[in-house]
Symmetry: C2
Subunit: 721 residues, 2 copies
């Protein structure tokens, strides 16, 4: 009866919380906005200035951009992030003999840590509004393309100037409100990142693509990395002499974890949201772009799976690419379903109609803002007309590896002739090394028969474009009378005569001048040269479009503020943001409810022995003997595995620390629920739920399964148990 009473009180309290409605709210708040939020009323138990204090030492110094997000969890530069964030580095470090994806990676001491290839880490140090400076570059009389270029150039100058004034730091200017506000961020930029502990795929990726974007989830999606710097403490490329980086702040870990209803907040680098875009953009995404990409990715995955069926080694080459495509595919399908279910485009239209009525109510307003929405609509009308053309050009380079290699080599030679500040960003001195590195990583998984098939399909699609959108460079490949045979001939000739897929040749070509490239007579470099004017023309058109939309959106946000009489926060843009909420389940369908904490029992339930549900036998053994150490949940009587909360996240928040009311680490964010893929357009109280691996699972796996007790010691967890 005592138990009953306890439950009743517990439920009364939960209900009270429910009706007070102090749950999450839409919003990925820039750190500059944190002080405007009454976070303590929402549940925060520490001072907001402990999260961010422009004058002092705060939690944000523990947050690190490592592709997506990570956080420091020890004074010795130990970083926790997701398994899937570290994935490409783990794959790059793996060989046939040492398959770290399959078996996991464990450094038993610092000397055994190995470089996390392609990985860098940025820590936000400071920010400054540079909107006036940026917008001053726009002069009367410029057309839209000129406006875009002027803004781009000014930003590069601001960045160069900032990096000159702050040696060793990296600067970035982020567009916050489109065409309206710009913020200069200064980052500490670390380049020597190493692998410390990565669980095997069967834990870190448990459930694979089947469970991806899904709740209930049972994935131990975490990895430990470590950042190193030169012996003098300055950022440096990898060297055995380097020493662990000592962050200004690191997160305390709470091994007790959280419970349903608890307040949590996240810090991280969410990628892109589109909430301030108009219905025209949303409808374009829903009706045109996403369906096209869904179709194209599904086709590619199908081709790669069929080719991989015959040969495990080839299948492994395709693995990471299929993983990436599937991830986007499932995300887009979720978005398309959610946009339809919630009728998002029409809701947006109704908002815009209300705004338009508001504009019409006042003559001055009308004069200034009357045509904004219509003009944006016209831009998207045009964009729809040539969408197929643009998409084919985009994916000709993105999906066909050889075209990508040829084009990058050619474009690099063109760009490197220019002054650094005049170049396309990828070819600027500060970025070109990473551009090259990424290209060479693509090469690792190159498989010619697949590339031929994909190239052929893109050519087939290009051959069906209306005459008005023909691509001159392809005219000699696609013969009107018998297009398919014609490009079969070209493909055979091109692939059998190129050497650009050889690492040494590709590396060499990336250093060549235009005349040197010409001498190579490589068919893909020649194709790139022929395509170059088309891509330039397209880029010019896109810059004009971007200029126009930036200009129009700048005005739109002005009048929206007048209309709604409130401040907004800008869409996510890979800058540091805070979001908060509570541990909370949801109702995915009639008569179904999801609880917000999963357990080890659920891992066992899902285990089939077959990938991706092939739990390691050692972990099964720990379950059997109930060897849960200190990490069993008192009510659930099992080790919590994942947690769910209604904070507002998007891609890029992967690896974000989930922090409790006292700012201690209780989870590592790694995904959203299927229904929350629509977060990019709109946050929804009923469906927007994000997923983290529970700190108790992280610690349990690390201690009991990985036998990496020293990490728990380093995180100062042992004495809290």
């Amino acid at each position: 009866m005592k138990k009953q009473l306890f439950f009743a009180v517990f439920i009364l309290l939960s209900l009270t919380l429910l009706f007070q409605n102090i749950s999450a709210d839409e919003g990925m708040y820039p750190i500059s906005e944190i002080d405007k939020l009454d976070l303590q009323a929402k549940g925060l138990e520490i001072s907001p200035s402990e999260i961010y204090d422009p004058e002092g030492l705060s939690l944000i110094y523990a947050i690190v951009q490592v592709g997506a997000t990570g956080s420091f969890v020890s004074p010795e530069g130990l970083i926790i992030t997701n398994h899937h964030v570290a994935y490409s580095s783990v794959q790059a470090a793996s060989t046939k003999e040492k398959d770290y994806i399959k078996h996991g990676f464990l450094a038993r001491n610092r000397f055994e840590e190995i470089p996390a290839k392609g990985r860098t880490a940025r820590i936000t140090e400071s920010y400054k509004d540079v909107s006036a400076e940026v917008l001053n570059a726009v002069k009367v009389g410029m057309d839209y393309a000129q406006m875009t270029k002027a803004v781009e150039k000014k930003i590069k100058e601001i960045v160069a100037e900032a990096e000159k004034r702050n040696p060793g730091k990296r600067a970035e200017v982020a567009e916050m409100f489109r065409g309206k506000t710009y913020v200069l961020f200064l980052y500490t930029y670390l380049k020597d990142i190493r692998l410390v502990y990565v669980p095997p795929r069967s834990v870190g990726e448990f459930g694979g693509d089947v469970d991806n974007w899904m709740w209930p989830r049972h994935t131990g999606d975490f990895s430990f990395l470590r950042a190193y710097v030169a012996p003098d403490g300055t950022p440096a490329e990898y060297s055995p002499e380097n020493i662990p980086f000592r962050p200004k702040r690191y997160l305390k870990v709470d091994p007790e974890g959280v419970n349903e209803g608890d307040f949590v907040f996240l810090l991280g680098y969410p990628g892109r949201t589109y909430r301030h875009r108009t219905s025209h953009f949303w409808a374009f995404e829903e009706e045109v772009r996403m369906p096209w990409v869904v179709d194209w990715y599904a086709w590619q995955i199908d081709v790669m799976e069929k080719i991989g069926n015959d040969d495990r080694e080839i299948a492994l080459k395709h693995l990471s690419r299929i993983k990436g495509l599937s991830n986007t595919l499932k995300n887009y399908r979720g978005k398309l379903k959610g946009m339809n279910r919630l009728d998002l485009v029409n809701r947006k239209r109704r908002e815009e109609e209300a705004l338009q009525r508001f504009i019409g109510e006042d003559t001055a307003r009308q004069a200034k803002y009357k045509d904004i929405l219509e003009q944006i609509g016209q831009i998207f009308e045009e964009r729809r007309g040539q969408a197929e053309y643009e998409l084919i050009l985009e994916y000709l380079r993105r999906s066909v590896n050889m075209v990508n290699f040829g084009y990058t080599v050619y474009e690099a030679a063109v760009e490197l002739q220019k002054d650094d500040l005049e170049r396309e960003s990828a070819y600027m001195d500060r970025n070109f090394p990473r551009t090259k590195e990424r290209l060479l990583m693509t090469l690792k998984n190159y498989y010619e028969p697949t590339d031929r098939k994909i190239f052929r399909e893109i050519l087939r699609r290009a051959s069906r474009l209306p005459e008005k959108y023909h691509i001159p460079a392809l005219d000699r490949i696609i013969k009107k009378d018998d297009p398919e045979r014609a490009f079969d001939g070209f493909i055979e000739k091109a692939y059998s005569s190129t050497d650009l897929h050889l690492e040494s040749v590709l590396e060499g070509a990336l250093k060549m001048s235009l005349p040197e490239l010409k001498k190579m007579k490589d068919p893909f470099i020649e194709l790139a040269e022929a395509l170059y004017p088309t891509y330039q023309k397209l880029k010019e058109a896109q810059k004009a479009r971007r200029g126009a939309l930036g200009h129009l959106h700048g005005q739109l946000i002005d009048v929206k503020k007048q209309f709604l009489q409130k401040e907004f926060i800008p869409d996510a843009n890979r800058t540091l943001r805070l979001t908060f909420g509570r541990i909370r389940g949801y109702k995915p369908a009639d008569a179904v409810c999801y609880r917000p904490i999963t357990t080890l029992d659920g891992v066992i339930e899902k285990t089939t022995g077959q990938e991706p549900f092939d739990t390691p036998s050692q972990l099964l053994e720990l379950f059997k003997t109930k060897d849960y150490g200190h990490f069993s949940h008192p009510d659930l009587k099992s080790v919590p595995v994942c947690i769910l909360y209604d904070a507002d996240t998007t891609g890029g928040n992967s690896g974000s620390p989930v922090l409790n009311a006292r700012g201690e680490l209780v989870g590592v964010n790694f995904d959203r629920a299927w229904e929350a893929t629509i977060n990019d357009y709109a946050w929804n109280e009923s469906y927007s739920r994000s997923i983290a691996v529970d700190i108790r699972y992280v610690l349990w796996v690390t201690q009991k399964f990985g036998n990496v007790a020293y990490l728990l010691e380093e995180m100062d967890v042992l004495n809290k148990l």
Copy 2:
């Protein structure tokens, strides 16, 4: 705040119920056992004698066996049962022009009611234990096959005698405990059943095979039929002069329905359970028979779907057969999963080990019971050895229509030579008309190319049987050197020369003597003749097996009673049973919970416009305008559609009335949850849940969608609203 308090009180009450643990229990109780149950302590508010009273008028007279179960809901013989129970009659009444499956059937008055082909109705009138009489037929010195035959013969005699003494009634002897107890049931047997109101497939079968065996469910699986009798009140075949049957009792309908936690009970005719079988049988089912059938049914469905892809009309011919196969397939898959998950066979083995230890503790017991389990084990060892052979013989007749036609015709001619009581049950005078009717209904959906393919595959499988199990009749068809070509030749010749697929020929053949049949020179009748000795031999062996198992199980139940010191209830056997429980959700997986009441909102959520999720537009309209009449659930704010409860049911309980604590109709049982397919082996408190269509949905669809208000009047519902 008032609302909060209300919720808290509500939850406290729910918790109280939870901890009192007065929920369901394993058991499909024969009506003779009802008085031993303290049903009022479980929640029943009426006297148990109102459910069954051997001396008086009780609820059981409202329960009717119509294939599965139905119940009378008006004094005018109105029956409510499932859509899927009435399905075959609705299909048989449909033509291309009048597709009652698609559009539903509605009789606006009695004159528009049409015969429900193949449908009969039985009402349990009385029962009597005849165990002694039956078992007396077994004499010392008989072998096991002789024992089986003696029992079968005695039962036929008892039945014949009973039917003679009770003109117009139908008698059946049911084996309750195997080899131990036998009960004679007397039934009122009605043969003129008509269709009254059948909703369209898009309501009555909403969710189709996708949702079958699943919760949450949104299927309006109900139909109304009416029973007719001769003007003098005696059972009669269809005649326009017949008048509605006036049942001794009919159910009152409670339009208020039930809520979570409410007590409910069901009456019905559950088919078969296997709880008293041993681990040997369970393991045989899990490891041998069910996997074979799953494979075979999946193969057949695949073939039929492929053939149907090209031609809608052929697809329609396959529809009902695919439906049947899929239903079993999904059920078996659920069972296999559940048996594995709950480790049922090993649990049973542990029980048997404990029993064996108990037997060993006492010399007298040991002498009597020591070898029982071992002997049963040996029988199943043998059965495993020839399982493939037996399964092929079984499905040669069951799956190949032409073999079935040929064999039935041939066997009928053999059997009809004998005295009625000596015949196989299907050919006794009292059963032969239905046997013929069923055969002719099979013929309706016969499609030769499918039948050829299935025959070919069975022959292919037969050709791979070990020499020891060769089937002599097939020796000339399956040539050792080139088996496949050999039976291709046979198939071509047989199908192109038979006429047995013509209705008139088949009907004619069913009346012929053996010499007349021989003259037909039909290849399938000739095949039947050649197969006959093999089937006879198999039947003999099976009777011996049945005799042995009956004998052993009779002893087993004796010693089990001594061991467990309690009474058991017999396995389900198509006789009238009561089961009870509460409206209750469950947890199908970690972090997922299912609520026990679904709503119209869920129908809309699932609606895609594509079969099987194609809600009729008129119903969508009613949802849009929230035209819920009196049937909206006060908390859920929508029309309840299906309810879930932890009573103990199995196949045959389809159509069973779900009754509230006052014995009023609140739902019509139609399915179990996926996890409850294991009910046939073991009831499980966590997973055993059954599904009914909620009476509120039945009434709402009937009134608002079907516009059949007169049925609500007839059920005396209107004045309760």
